[in-house]
Amino acid sequence: MPRPAGPSTLASPRASDLAALTVALLGATAAAAGPPQRVVSLNLCTDQLAMMLAAPGQLVSVTHLAADPMMSVMADQATGFPLNHGRAEEIHALTPDLVLATNWTPRHTFSLLERLGLRVEQMPLATRLDQIPGNIAHIGALLGREAQAQALVEDFHAGLAALAPPPGARPRAVLHNANNYTSGAGTMAAELLALAGLANIAEEAGIIGGGNLAMEQIVMLAPDLVIQAQRYPGASRAEAVMDHPAMLALRDRGGGALADAEWVCGTPHVLRAVARLAALRDAAEGGE
């Protein structure tokens, strides 16, 4: 799954929280008429944050992706909601008083919904861990659920603090996705690898943001661990690269798979991905 790339600077999480809370307070003032009663979400990531934060009955619809266990860690909760496909007509028919979109929502859908007189709010998708608390606070403020957002942010920080990178050697890993896509410096994926005590060979190869690393280069960089993406049903040439004999030879040394659902969105659930990566790291260490 392609993820947006961000600059590689890492601010301290606490500083960004303050900024996020300021946004949250401003948002609360704007919504003085009271919290929205019919909220529709247009994106898998806003789906998940809204499901975690909304009051019962406040969230009217989430996307069909949120109910897909291959894409969503909250598929069980999502099946309780009417599902939408992000099309302007069906959104309008739900008569929402707030539509949650992102900076990845197609421009034409966004402007069409605004022309239909709907209130559409955009949340920039998190591309780094330190943006997650801000997004939680942002959605919390839009929903009028600041207290729940604050609690979730605190949980996230507590979980993050408990995940100090393990001491000792840092095995070198590559994230290998369809089409030889990988995540380099400045991506949330790279941060998760670092938290799990792994070195990222995409960064050694100078990849900034997401990018493709030729299979030849991966082989020459000789990673200790190949962490591949999950497989989707049906077949594709893009995914066939994960079964290439050269990659299988590398994976014999160590490796595993990581589900997209666990880290495709910047939510507190990404901490689970770190735990899984750390387990792969320990297995690789033990194998040596």
Partner: protein, 331 residues
Amino acid sequence: MMRLALLLTLLAALNAALFLTSLLTGPAGLSPAPALAALIRGEGTAETLVMREIRLPRALLAAMIGASLGLAGAAMQGYLRNPLAEPGLLGVSGSAALGAVIALQTGLAAAFTLALPLAALIGAVVAVALILALAGRHGGSITLILAGIAVSAMAGALTALVLNLSPNPFAAAEIVFWMMGSLADRSMTHVWLALPLMALGWALLASLARGLDALTLGEDVAASLGHALPRLRLTLVAGTACVVGAGTAVAGAIGFIGLVVPHILRPLVGARPSHLLAASALGGAALLLAADIAVRLILPERDLKLGVLTALVGAPLFLHLIYRTRREGLT
């Protein structure tokens, strides 16, 4: 004969040089001597893995598929007595791609090993049979090309439909691969998958040599020499379907090689179709090896499709051939 032997030797030498260049082209930045040493000695190093599992199958497939397309083009042109006949233009490659896509998306390809090339073969058989039924040996160029357009359009549309219906999020983006072809990240598995059917097809098409020569003297003479038309036709259909099906199943549809190569070589080998078959096989291998080196040099990071390059060379030539065919009143 001397002239043919010289030409074939030169083409073989060109192929050897291009094959070596293909082995030495790639993003890993290996220097030539250690790379070749790693290929031959095979000490389980990263270099060996790159050379044996990534670059060798790529060069082998380029040579095999190029030879197949050159051979199929020369055979079709010899049988139809028409310089515009070519597996890509006539929709044979496109139909083979449709067969391959159906085998992959229905799970048939995963169920048993040879399902992928066999499904592509069936697609190709349907297309060749349809083309010969529609245009035949006595239909003009216009009928042939129109039949090709219709078969290509239908195969392309159905391929796109199957890929769009796939539950796989990456499948729809691969329409361009199936229509333009690529050898990026293929493996020895693909070589072994394609080779049996391809070898069978080479043998069938090579066996056409004397029949096609006899056919230049007229159908009656050919028949009296023991080359009856129906059998030649059956061999052509089977041979073309085998080589095009096997090649397309692993590399997608690559166009124009079967058009360009016989056209360039025909003046050099004289009028005998049998000579053109041998020369076109070698010429096709050289052209596809060169195209596959070029896509890695022009846009190393992007997986530029092979069909883009072959069409850039082939389409202008195709226009020229149409113009000449019309001027000579062959329509």
